[in-house]
Symmetry: C2
Subunit: 204 residues, 2 copies
Amino acid sequence: MPQGKPAVVPDDGLTTKQRRNRPLLVVHTGDGKGKSTAAFGLALRGWNQGWKIGVFQFVKSAKWRIGEQTVLERLGRLHEETGEGGPVEWHKMGSGWSWTRKQGDAEDHETAALQGWQEIKRRLADESHDLLILDEFTYPMKWGWVDVQDVVETLTNRPGFQHVIITGRNADPLLVEAADLVTEMSKVKHPMDVGQKGQRGIEW
Amino acid sequence: MPQGKPAVVPDDGLTTKQRRNRPLLVVHTGDGKGKSTAAFGLALRGWNQGWKIGVFQFVKSAKWRIGEQTVLERLGRLHEETGEGGPVEWHKMGSGWSWTRKQGDAEDHETAALQGWQEIKRRLADESHDLLILDEFTYPMKWGWVDVQDVVETLTNRPGFQHVIITGRNADPLLVEAADLVTEMSKVKHPMDVGQKGQRGIEW
């Protein structure tokens, strides 16, 4: 079904087209798998639409590199080579973001997370991307490193047409309230519960 | 974290490597978004590992084409051109599968679904793919078009090393029992509830 039928037609004075084309704030939360994977799946759709994709991974390890990064960066190069799809930027926090030249203190994740958010604020103001994926961004909010109120206000008032996806467990209620689309991924059964280890192609 | 730590180390006589490298039966179910999108996200990881990817979409409309199909098929051509990643096949039921030459009766989805499953059984026996995505395959089971017991037995006894992902609402309890990894995607909030229509890049 290419177009869902809305349950309610709102009395907001907007045309169907205006209503269809609204930038979304999407949250993938819960303790199950698939929060980030579904976000990167949406990046495929966005790339196919020619969108400028920006991924910001709030992970602590700089070494950690998943298959999606390799493939989405490859798609970004394909865009440069052939004009297909859209450009892709992938930034990872690790012990400091790629746009900060200095090698920061590897332990100071709090500073790194805040720098990440400040850069994202600048990019939102500049409308640098059409789709921003803030992967595992719920954690710096949960830990108080990034102010939830600031995030919610910034996202609510972002200019232009920018879709934003935030992933991670324990999404703050304020963030859920501000979001347009919230999905909870719950674990029903996981191989690690029965001693299975993570494996290539599935976990990374 | 590239490798999860298992909660239990089973007394099964297997080495860690044997235990790590086990073909998984994965189910994405629930009424929320992200079931298929997360499956296609996993296909990115698999492609990056050089896996042979087979996608089988049990959707009724032949017209319905999502961005992931375009991008994954593009990645399949990239594999042919450069050897990067793995090959990709994408089959859609519609009113008949691409491998059946004859134009079947467009209304006879039951026959089409059963033909799809029979082809998948042949491919599983032949170990044609490393990752099979059976998208929206819970529905033909729910409607009794495909026998759940047959699916569970076939998947439980599949040879070699083939990961299988099944998506769709209302996964049968027998399927959940047979699966290694089951995630439920639940809707917390959806834009269509407040009258928002589906939109390009998000829904397709």
